[in-house]
Structure formats: structure tokens, C-alpha cells
Amino acid sequence: MSAQSEESARTKLKIDQVSKNFGGVKAVTQVSLDVPEGTIFSIIGPNGAGKTTLLNMVSGFYHPDEGSILLDSQDVTRRKPNERARLGIARTFQNIALFQGLSVLENLMLGRHVHMTSGVLASFLYWGPAQREEVVHRRRVEEIIDFLKLADLRQQPAGELAYGLRKRVELGRALAVDPTLLLLDEPMAGMNQEEKEEMVRYVLDVNEEFGTTIVLIEHDMGVVMDISDYVAVLDQGEKIAEGVPDAVRADPTVIEAYLGADHE
């Protein structure tokens, strides 16, 4: 929200003419998006519109058939997911992907893995630089625990937590990467109103406090229109609208895609 008023905000993520086919299915067709730095950018659309596929191409899980993806003006189209993580991309999943048997703390520490440099042996001995490194990372994880109010759950196995809390832990793990670009795939799906409000609060806080650029896929229109700086609409793999929430809401093509055409 903060960056909306700033003039000529830098482009954080540029998606340029990207397409992806699975066999005969055209999942994404020639989609281009410019995500300005420091904004909350939402991608909406009916089921099967290609939103998650697009997100997967940004995180590096899929490679586009054509087109390119630029992070901070740097072409990352052919980079592997782990390399992209090091460049500052983190994500959460539609279906929670935590290590069920590990504690909240351990799950978050795993998120720091991309920043750890000690070798297996040094880590095992927990001596010298490896120990100092662990302390630094633990400190950062504790800050996230504090930020997301997870202190009372620190030692709880992630698998034992309620659904809404697991979603929050997942957000925490993504934050542990220290991302500059955060991809959230339906972070509020399946939540009740209270849990949704809490999650919205955290998403806004992350954006405000850390200045993280956020790309959000979400079905709850109320939430999307409330918190997004920009909204893009996908339908059957194609971008059909893009702009500030009010403009998108009023766009006839969008209304048609969502509610069916208005035949008079």
C-alpha cells in the first residue's frame, strides 16, 4: 500500500509474454505482468485459470515454454528454485507443506537453510563458525516467532497444530528466507472469518514492516479488494484485466468471467 503513492516505483518482478502448456492443455498463454516493488499484487480468477501455474513458474517449480521472468531486472527464467530462493523469492503452498514431525522452531530454522554455509561436519560438531552461524540464524527465527506471535507454539510439532496456525507457521517459514518477493498461494483458503482477519493482518504487517513485495493468489474477493494495491485477473490461462482494485471490480470482462455474461 505504501508504495502506491510513490512515483515510478521500481519493477520488482516482470513476467514477460509467458506461456505454459501441459500436453494439449494451455495452462498459461502469453501473460505479462509488472509487479512494482513494495506492493501487494493479487492474481485472481476462476478455478483452473492458471494462477498457481503462473506462481510455480515464478518460484521456479515449472519452466515456461516461452517468455521470460525477470527479478530485479535480472533474467531468472532458467534458474533453479533453490537459486531463486537465494535471490529472495519465497512462497507458501495452497496445501500446507510443513514437516509434520518437526517443531515450529525447527520448521522455521529450515527456512534459513538457504543462508547457511557451514558444511555437514562443522555443523555436526557445532563448533566455531558453525555455532556462531546457528546463533545468528536462531536470532532471526526468533524475531519471526515474535512477529507472528508463535512463542507459545515454539516447541510444538507442526503436525499437531490447528489448520490456521499451520498456515501461519508456513508464512513464518517463508519469511525465514528473508524474501524480497513473497508468493502466497491462497493463504486464507479454508479459514474461518477470525483466522482470515488474523492472516490479513500479518500479510499487511509483513508488507509494511519489511517492505516485502507480495504476490497473492486468493479467492476471497473481499480480502483481495481490501488489501491489494494492484489486481490482475486470469481466465482460461489469459490475462483479461489488470489495474487498481476499483477499476478491476468495475471491468465488464471481469464481471463476465465471474458471473457469466449479462444478457439483456
Binding site: 516467532i145 512477529f147 512463542a151 507459545d152 509494511e208
Partner: protein, 635 residues
């Protein structure tokens, strides 16, 4: 060196005296690690903050309010106000804006120190009602970066100002401290008040120091002790047991990370002494029972069996009989198998003494803890007596009395309504800006009228029956003390709050608020789906569950006092709705008025009540819920 006569005096002593300086003074868990402050850094923090305050214009007799959980910086802020000859006004952190506005406006606080954004928002929302407010200072900066408010300052900023101020004004703090005396006012503690608006109780340095001295003389308090600071800061007990006792003996005071992490923090810390509200003990017991229910059948069996043994032991002790050998052996086995491990799990293994105070604790809860080898005792006191009147010794602890009045505190029982009267050096200096109320409370001979009905038993122990005005009679003339029945009910893990009616009636009836966690678990186990508190409380299965609990409780009550009718409330009693005080005492008069239809149905033979209830949300907004409450007959 003579004993200091003011609290800041003790602080300076601790920093200067090598006997104290190597001791931990305060610990705070932050970012998952216990951080320790010794007395030098403690005093340094108070020094820089109070000089910062001085730079901002805070002077003698100004008021500084603190709102938040137990945090070192909020303690230091209170002490800083005292150092400059001002008064600290601790306020309940969960108070809603309208309550807050009364206390903050009435106390004329010029500086408010709060914990976080939530409290900042609350204060800013009522800023128009606080003409005296000059500075609002926050401890935790999260979410406040974009705030552009002229009166807002961070704690660090004030400390930085203070360090700069120190350069130009050497010995400023020492000079200010030298100006205050034992008679100076230190604290204005607002009583939660079961009737009417809160009253500001003024306590002097002498009140606090003399009362702490009485406690230290009566209880085994050591310099090496670790206290857990978990009383609400607004409660006088926190100022006395947390702050004063710790500073005077040099023991350390430990702040938990968050209210939610208390159980784990307790275990990590293993405090040697605790003073906590009955609510905390009830909470520990409830969660213990739930955990026992959840464990393996063998563990459950052991827990329940040895719980019975513990109960039998306590019962025998209470009757003053020697323990039969067989029971003694069983107790020893229980100590090894159950009691010791449970104490360890709870973090109470090192605790030499635990106190419950502020409101009565149910006798069964009390006996449970003692049976498990936890030295739980009652302390009786009120804000006006600086939080102390009587204590139980470890040998005489029992649930029926509040112990012997402490040395140096005179107690007598008035003829009229057997009201408890108190005279001591701890009796307060008056209600702030309410001299008429002060004259009502303290008579010409200096006796403070507590409003509690009580008696002194044959051993010289003080017994508190109830609030003097609450004790009534059933229509056949039997004395009816509602609290007695309510405490019995609250021992059930499934019952969170209870209100007993019966004054002037033929029988006793009760309204019950279920315990969401315990009943929720029970429902999950029985595969009974529910959505929220209201839904759960309206299930006939839950009513049957509570009916069975009441049947059990009735067995332990005299025939005439047995509960005949009850209903389950669709919401818990809440301080935000004015039904209970912040220390969770029932505001009986208000409840009688609000739930008048329930009372009519109980005694008019109705089988159900339609009730429109006002509820207040945490942000202070209000709404109405309609409930259909079914009345059950108890067996």
C-alpha cells in the same frame, strides 16, 4: 548503613552494595532466551528513563500510568516516577477504552507508558478525554513505525534523552531521590470495585515498605530467590510481592515471555516463590486434568488413583489425625510415581512457597495442590491494606481460613454484620480525590472497614465468610453464602464460573458458565460437533454433563443448601461486560439486575428463559445476542 526509607533508596543501595550487586535482579524472556539484568543495569535503566522523563517535564507529584503485561521496562517506568517524587498508576492491560478513560482521566496521568501498539491505539482513541496527557511512551515498536503522533515516543528515545540530560545535570537523580520521604506517595492503585467506579487507593513509600517488611518477617524469603511476576501489574500485590519484596531483599523478579507461554516459562524457570491469583491455579488444575484425560490409560489410572490417595492424606491431616501406616506408604509411592513428576512438569519443584490471593480459591482446588506436595497457602489482603492482612504458615495452611493476622497488623471484628476491621502501617493514605469515601472507609480510630464478613476462630485464624453485603438467608432462615457454593462448583473442570442465588428464596439455584477448553475436549471425544461457546452451551448433552457434576457436588452440601435448579449461560462472564471485576470477582448487584429474568424463571417455575444480552467486544464495541436458556432440575 541505615535501612532506606523509600523504594528508590533501596534501589540505590542494591546497586552500591557488593552483597547485592552480583545477584540477578530481573530476568525477561525475549526472543526465546532469558536475559538477565543485575542491579547495576537495573538501576542504570531506571536512571536513564527517569532523567528522560525529567527532561520531558515530569516533576514531583505528577502521575505516570503503565499499561501492559509484566515487562521490565514497565517496572522501571514505575520506579522512575517514584524516583522523581511522582506516583505510578498501574492500569489493567485488558481494560477496554471506556474503563481506561475513567482511570486515566481521574488520575490526571501526564505520562502513559504502554507495552505495544494495541495499547497505543486504545489510548489514542480516548485522547480527547485526557486533557492532562503530555507523553505516550511505548516499549515495543512493532506496527508503530508509520504513526505520526506528536505525543508518541519510544522507550529508547526517552532513555537517550535521559543520558544526554545526565551530562548537563550530574547527581540530578540522587538529589531528587533525597527529596522524597517515607510519607511521600508512591502508588495510586485503582481498585477493581465490585460496585460503582474504581477508586484510586493512594499508597505511600512507608505503606509499601512496612507491609513488605511484615511479609519478609513472616515468610522465608531469601536473596537468592527467583519470583515469577505474573500478577496483573495493576493489582497491588504485584507492586508489593513483585517489586518491593524483590528490591528489599535483593531477590530476582522474572517476567514471562507472553501470557500464553506461562506454563513453559514456569518450567524453564522453576521459581522459588509465586504469588498468583486463584484464576491461575484453577487454570493449572484444569489443564492438568485435561492432560491426564488425554494420556495413556495406564498413566491416567495412576494419576487418578494417586490423586485419591493425596485427597485421603489431606483429609486425614485436616481432621488432625495421624496418618495410618498403609496410607503413608501409598503416599510415598505416589510421591515417586506421580506427585514429584507432576510438580516437575509444572515447574513447581523448587517452589518453597506458593500463595493464592486476591479472591477466594475453592477448597478442593486448594487441597489438590497441597496433596501433590505443593506448598500452596492463602494470603488475605486488599488494595487498601497494601495487599496484606493475614498469611497462612506452611503448617497451618488449610482452605477454610486465611491464616493468622500478621505481626504488626491489628484485626478486629465489628459487631455489626461481623465486618473485618484492620489497623496497620500498611493502611492506605486515602482515596485519590474522594475524601468522603476515605472518611467512610477509615474511622476516627484509624480502623479500616474492609466490607468482608468474617470471624476469628478458636486457633486465632481469620475466617472470611463472604462479602458482608452478599451473605443472605434462605427463606427457612439458614445462612446462605453464595461464594461457598460457587467455589464448590468451580472445582469441576467443566465449570468456569458460577453464580448462586438463594437469598430470601426457598432453595438454591445457579447460573453456570462452562469451561470452553475442558467441555470442548469432552465434546470432541464424544464426537459431538459444535461451532462455538454459545453452541456448545446449548447442547442437551452438555447440560446432562453439568447435571451429573452438580449431582456429585450436591452430595457434599448440606441438604438445604443443595442446588435445585440450574442453567448454562451462552457466554462466559466477562469483565468487559462488567459482570466480573478484572480480578474476576463477581459483581453481584449488577448480575442480579442483568439476569433478573433468569432469577424470576428459577423461582417462578419457568422451564426456559429468553434473554437479550449485551456483549462488549475487546475493542469496546457492543452488540446484543439473543439466547434461549433451558432450565434443568438438579438431582
Amino acid at each position: 548503613m541505615a535501612e532506606p526509607s523509600t523504594i528508590p533508596g533501596y534501589l540505590l543501595r542494591n546497586a552500591a552494595d557488593p552483597n547485592f550487586s552480583d545477584q540477578p535482579a530481573m530476568r525477561e524472556k525475549s526472543f526465546g532466551i532469558w536475559e538477565t539484568y543485575d542491579w547495576q543495569s537495573y538501576v542504570e535503566n531506571v536512571r536513564s528513563f527517569s532523567l528522560g522523563l525529567a527532561d520531558l517535564g515530569f516533576a514531583a507529584d505528577d502521575k505516570l500510568a503503565v499499561i501492559g503485561n509484566n515487562r521490565p521496562r514497565l517496572y522501571w517506568a514505575q520506579l522512575s516516577a517514584m524516583c522523581l517524587g511522582g506516583q505510578s498508576v498501574p492500569v489493567y492491560q485488558d481494560a477496554i477504552a471506556s474503563e481506561l478513560s475513567y482511570v486515566l482521566a481521574h488520575s490526571e496521568a501526564s505520562v502513559i507508558v504502554v507495552e505495544d501498539q494495541e495499547q497505543v491505539d486504545k489510548v489514542l482513541s480516548i485522547r480527547d478525554e485526557l486533557p492532562n496527557l503530555k507523553w505516550l511512551i511505548y516499549d515495543y515498536s512493532r506496527g508503530l513505525a508509520s504513526y505520526d503522533v506528536d505525543i508518541l515516543k519510544s522507550y529508547e528515545e526517552v532513555q537517550t534523552l535521559g543520558r544526554a540530560f545526565a551530562e548537563g545535570n550530574p547527581n540530578y537523580l540522587e538529589n531528587e531521590i533525597a527529596k522524597i520521604s517515607a510519607d511521600s506517595f508512591a502508588l495510586i492503585a485503582y481498585t477493581s470495585g465490585t460496585t460503582g467506579q474504581p477508586k484510586g487507593v493512594i499508597l505511600s513509600h512507608e505503606n509499601l515498605i512496612e507491609t513488605a517488611r511484615i511479609f519478609i518477617a513472616a515468610e522465608d524469603v531469601r536473596k537468592t530467590d527467583d519470583f515469577l511476576s505474573y500478577l496483573p501489574m495493576a493489582w497491588v500485590g504485584d507492586a508489593l510481592y513483585g517489586l518491593c519484596v524483590s528490591i528489599m531483599v535483593g531477590a530476582s523478579c522474572n517476567c514471562p515471555e507472553e501470557p500464553e507461554t506461562i506454563q513453559r516459562d514456569l518450567r524453564e524457570l522453576g521459581p522459588t516463590g509465586i504469588v498468583a491469583a486463584p484464576r491461575v491455579w484453577e487454570g493449572i488444575l484444569s489443564s492438568l486434568q485435561v492432560r491426564a484425560e488425554d494420556s495413556t490409560p495406564l498413566k491416567k489410572l495412576a494419576f487418578n488413583y494417586f490423586r485419591g490417595v493425596a485427597d485421603a492424606v489431606e483429609q486425614t491431616k485436616l481432621e488432625g489425625k495421624p496418618l495410618p501406616l498403609f496410607l503413608k506408604i501409598k503416599q510415598q509411592i505416589g510421591e515417586f510415581m506421580v506427585y514429584g513428576p507432576v510438580r516437575d512438569q509444572l515447574g513447581l519443584r523448587r517452589a518453597r512457597w506458593c500463595y493464592t490471593g486476591g479472591a477466594p480459591l475453592g477448597p478442593d482446588t486448594f487441597r489438590f495442590f497441597r496433596g501433590f506436595g505443593i506448598n500452596l497457602k492463602q494470603v488475605y489482603g486488599m488494595t487498601e491494606s497494601t495487599g496484606l492482612v493475614s498469611l497462612q504458615t506452611s503448617e497451618t495452611a488449610n482452605p477454610d481460613t486465611v491464616g493468622e493476622p500478621c505481626q504488626g497488623i491489628d484485626v478486629s471484628i465489628a459487631k455489626e454484620r461481623s465486618e473485618v476491621l484492620i489497623r496497620s502501617k500498611g493502611i492506605f493514605k486515602g482515596y485519590y480525590k474522594q475524601d468522603d469515601k476515605t472518611r467512610e472507609a477509615i474511622d476516627a480510630e484509624g480502623w479500616f472497614h474492609t466490607g468482608d464478613a468474617g470471624m476469628i476462630d478458636e486457633r486465632g485464624h481469620l475466617v472470611i465468610v463472604d462479602r458482608a453485603k452478599d451473605v443472605g438467608k434462605l427463606s427457612d432462615g439458614t445462612v446462605f453464602a453464595p461464594q461457598f457454593i460457587e467455589l464448590k462448583l468451580k472445582y469441576s473442570p467443566y465449570i468456569n464460573e458460577a453464580v448462586a442465588f438463594g437469598d430470601g428464596q426457598a432453595f438454591v439455584s445457579t447460573m453456570i458458565a462452562i469451561d470452553l477448553e475442558a467441555v470442548g475436549k469432552w465434546a470432541e471425544k464424544g464426537r459431538l460437533p459444535y461451532t462455538n461457546y454459545m453452541d456448545l452451551a446449548q447442547k442437551s448433552e452438555v447440560r446432562a454433563l453439568i447435571a451429573e457434576e452438580i449431582r456429585q457436588i450436591n452430595l457434599g452440601l448440606p441438604e438445604v443448601q443443595r442446588i435445585k435448579r440450574f442453567l448454562l449461560l451462552t457466554k462466559d462472564l466477562d469483565a468487559d461486560d462488567n459482570e466480573v471485576t478484572r480480578t474476576r470477582k463477581l459483581r453481584r448487584a449488577y448480575i442480579m439486575e442483568k439476569y433478573a429474568p433468569v432469577l424470576n424463571a428459577f423461582y417462578g417455575g419457568g422451564t426456559a428463559v429468553e434473554l437479550k444480552l449485551d456483549v462488549t467486544f475487546e475493542d469496546g464495541s457492543r452488540s446484543q445476542i439473543d439466547s434461549h436458556l433451558v432450565i434443568e432440575e438438579a438431582a
